[in-house]
Symmetry: C2
Subunit: 249 residues, 2 copies
């Protein structure tokens, strides 16, 4: 297993081959074995294969090709709807319409997603996470008919790989690990931690294409801008509220 973890690459090109039903079933079972707060399993997984629905999701996810071409789209949702219904039918009064419950359910959903991702990779499939899930939560709620108490948290596209990309770079371990307590970074330490990333040929290429002075400016000025982040922050907070998770009084 450790090898499956260490060899993870995001896959964005897929063969047209379907995922056999018994393998998909095992992937979903793997998801269901993840740790979950109080064993409440406050998440749901939407398995989408229908081409028309995949095209609707493709539009929502910024028209990234892989959403249309992957055989299966798995949308992982924070879900207190099922648990709340169970409570109501048992004359128990649920108090889960608040932010903490949303965040707890999000953690449940993400742990389940990573189990599914690793199980899929262990079966020779490739996966890619879609960060656009939170940006476009409103549209996804509409497409997948998510009721109150349900918010999409993350999405995985899965299928047999039709590409074999190299491992992507990572910061050195001492750049992300702290011993005993947090040790804040000096200017020199930041330089050391980011040295390898900034020295990659790929980085030089990206700086040329994007016409920026350095890699950091590609992130702040092109990929993840303040304007977009503020816009999507408001949108996502509105969706959390609309789906019934902001009653914090």
């Amino acid at each position: 297993m450790i090898n499956t973890i260490l060899q993870h690459r995001s896959i964005r090109k897929f063969k047209t081959t379907d995922i056999p039903e018994h393998i998909l079933e095992k992937i979903l079972e793997a998801a269901s074995r993840a740790s979950t707060t109080g064993n409440m399993q406050v998440y749901s997984i939407i398995v989408t294969k229908d081409q028309a629905l995949k095209e609707a999701l493709w539009t929502a996810h910024f028209s990234q090709d892989m959403v249309k071409t992957a055989p299966v789209i798995l949308t992982f949702c924070a879900d207190f709807n099922r648990f709340n219904k169970w409570c109501y039918y048992r004359k128990a009064e649920p108090g889960y319409d608040n932010f903490l419950s949303f965040y707890t359910a999000s953690i449940d959903a993400i742990l389940a997603a990573q189990n599914a991702a690793l199980a899929a990779e262990d079966f020779g499939l490739g996966i890619c996470y879609l960060g656009t899930t939170t940006y476009m939560a409103g549209k996804i709620i509409e497409i997948l008919k998510l009721p109150s108490g349900v918010v999409p948290v993350t999405t995985i596209v899965a299928g047999y790989p039709d590409e074999d990309p190299p491992l992507t770079d990572r910061l050195p371990l001492n750049g992300i690990v702290h011993h005993e307590v947090y040790h804040d970074y000096s200017h020199e330490e930041i330089d050391t931690i980011y040295l390898e990333k900034e020295s990659l040929e790929e980085t030089a290429r990206l700086i040329e294409i994007n016409k920026t002075e350095n890699l950091a400016q590609i992130f702040t000025d092109k990929r993840y801008t303040k304007k977009d982040n503020v816009h999507f922050s408001r949108h996502f907070l509105e969706m959390i509220d609309k789906q019934g998770f902001m009653n914090n009084e």
Copy 2:
């Protein structure tokens, strides 16, 4: 690997044996290979072994014994501090002091945590997640000296198991999986989905101890009450704000 995933049980009793350094290193490397938004790695992992610090964390985590007795405590944090510092030193203007950035960093931290958990289990270690991390975020920020831009998201205690508990029950797969779009639950479907859980001997025992009518009421009236959820929602939202992630204008 699929077997490691399917055999997961939370471990709360540990031998005093330390985790060898080379194994801990592999577990941290496994964490660092998880998918991460835009390859930004906006998370940090705090590795705590010092007994005095573990005891401080033990107090924060509702005095759960395993926090004091596990050889290693891993606290996974949403972390834009390092990335922001990198941006500043490169004359790039970061726009990551908002809710979306916090949520994105949370997803990064949780994916890394689950990789670490599974790698640890693959090496024969046992782990348990601590949901108390969000409830007690303020206290943990203090103990682990987390600066602005850093929020604790989840915690894993890890060590060699000194117990061998059975697998815990899970809802049937069709209770958590939806095909194509979300299908909301009828009263009858809720009864079916929760039948096995409600029929367990352990459930009967818990109802007797808690003096409730049924299992759902144990959750709503004892374990996860509205009063506590509202309290911890406010506290956690305050911490997110205090750590600099609520500038959504």
